[in-house]
């Protein structure tokens, strides 16, 4: 079905489940089109494997248009591959050369256990959100949106933080497997808006506590997360989270 002309060698991480050890397995692929996405190339590989009666490679994917955050894959030492600001589904085979060897591994972090092959369990992120990444609203009629004037700059910054799709590339690339870029984006998107204020200092403490409990590492400000984030989430958010955390612990009288 592929009509291209690229020949590739893939080294793909195969692991049955989290209790077994995995290993890189070599696969040869021929006739790959440069216009395919990286995931479509994997679809070709899996069809080959199925035809041969072998177990296909399990990998996460959903929307395939760069907005859902499901696809992952650590490609040649970088999350979502060699291109900036793209997810794996938006990465095309033209970013590689004919004859290339491509190493594909799952996100590696204690907090992201491998489910199978390239799929990891990212529910640690869900638990961090559940710990405080929301606002509480009493039911009743929605008030007029213009009752809450928000400066444009503030709204834009909140929007940029909210662009985080929770894919986990920040954790995957961080040499410490720290989740601070993700957590700080989820804190910032609310801390920057008036609706987020009532729970602002409670939220930062609960979410940071949950992040620590999940076993993520500690940030050392290398900036790798910001460089690899497919949505360009800024390190500014981590500084804001640190400020809010300090305010919560040392200035706010409320204790959590």
């Amino acid at each position: 079905m592929s009509t291209g002309n690229m020949n590739l060698t893939l080294k793909v991480w195969r692991q049955k489940n989290n209790n077994t050890k995995g290993a890189l397995v070599d696969y040869k692929l021929a006739g790959i089109s440069p216009d395919m996405s990286f995931l479509e190339m994997f679809d070709v590989l899996n069809e080959d494997l199925i035809t041969k009666g072998e177990e296909p490679v399990v990998f996460d994917h959903d929307c395939r248009e760069g907005i859902c955050g499901m696809c992952s894959m650590f490609i040649n030492g970088r999350p979502h591959g060699p291109k900036d600001l793209v997810t794996t589904c938006q990465l095309h085979m033209r970013s590689f050369k004919d004859g290339d060897t491509i190493v594909v591994e799952p996100w590696r972090a204690a907090a992201f256990p491998v489910v199978k092959d390239l799929t990891v369990d990212r529910s640690a992120f869900d638990r961090v959100i559940a710990a405080g990444g929301f606002i509480s609203v009493n039911t009743g009629n929605a008030q007029d949106a213009n009752n809450l004037p928000i400066p444009k700059m503030q709204a834009d910054a909140a929007f940029e933080a909210a662009a985080c799709i929770g894919c986990g590339a920040c954790v995957a690339t961080c040499k410490n497997a720290s989740a601070m870029l993700f957590v700080s984006a989820k804190i910032s998107q609310l801390a920057l808006l008036p609706q987020g204020q009532p729970e602002r200092y409670r939220r930062v403490q609960s979410m940071v506590a949950q992040m620590d409990a999940e076993g993520f590492g500690n940030c050392t400000n290398t900036g790798a997360c910001e460089a690899e984030c497919p949505k360009g989430i800024s390190l500014e958010n981590i500084a804001r989270m640190n400020r809010d955390f300090a305010s919560a612990k040392f200035i706010s009288e409320e204790t959590v």
Binding site: G77, V103, N218, T220, T222, E228, N242, T255
Partner: protein
Amino acid sequence: MSGFGNAFSSSIGKKFIMGATGIFLILFLIVHAGINALIFLDDQGLTFNIGAHFMATNWIIRAGEVVLMLGLLAHIFQALRLTLQNQKARPVKYAEYDGKANSKWYSRSMGLLGTLLLIFLVVHLKDFWVVSRFTGIPTVDANGHEDLYAVMKIKFQEPLRVGVYVLAMVSLCYHLLHGFASAFQTMGWNHSKYNGIIKGAGVWYSIIISIVFAAMPIAIYFGIIQ
């Protein structure tokens, strides 16, 4: 202390300790380099020895020395704790990891650079601090002050020691190149109007401090100052 909860034991709290002690050590280096640079007056170390005498005898400075040691130990201890935790956070390593694609090598090597600095510090404290505070400086200068400058002159006749000191200052430079701006980021002092100034000041500070320190053994070894 109730109410502060996990302020310092949480991941961010531990970072605060690293950042705050780092800034404290950065300030200390300015004082250290400033006083030591008095040797460049090339007056047989007379002015430098006045400075050294003041630092050794003033009780506020001596109390500050204890705080400095505690700050340094906190910085080292916290770094060890964080490093061990960070290693646990990724039990299975990547087969292929392209660090240079997204970060500077020295930002990823703070532990290694810090360890080199710690080894250097042991040598350095033994060379001068132990002599000045405990075993005693053997000679006095024309003003009757303990002649710490004479100790420097003797120590820096050895090429090996000069080499170790200069290499340590290269480590210091890279450690500071990341550490300076990183401390500000950790403390939450990230502001679009000041970020450029912080980054620029960090680069200048790291280079100048390291050159000033490295110039001392070099100048003495090659007899540029007497």
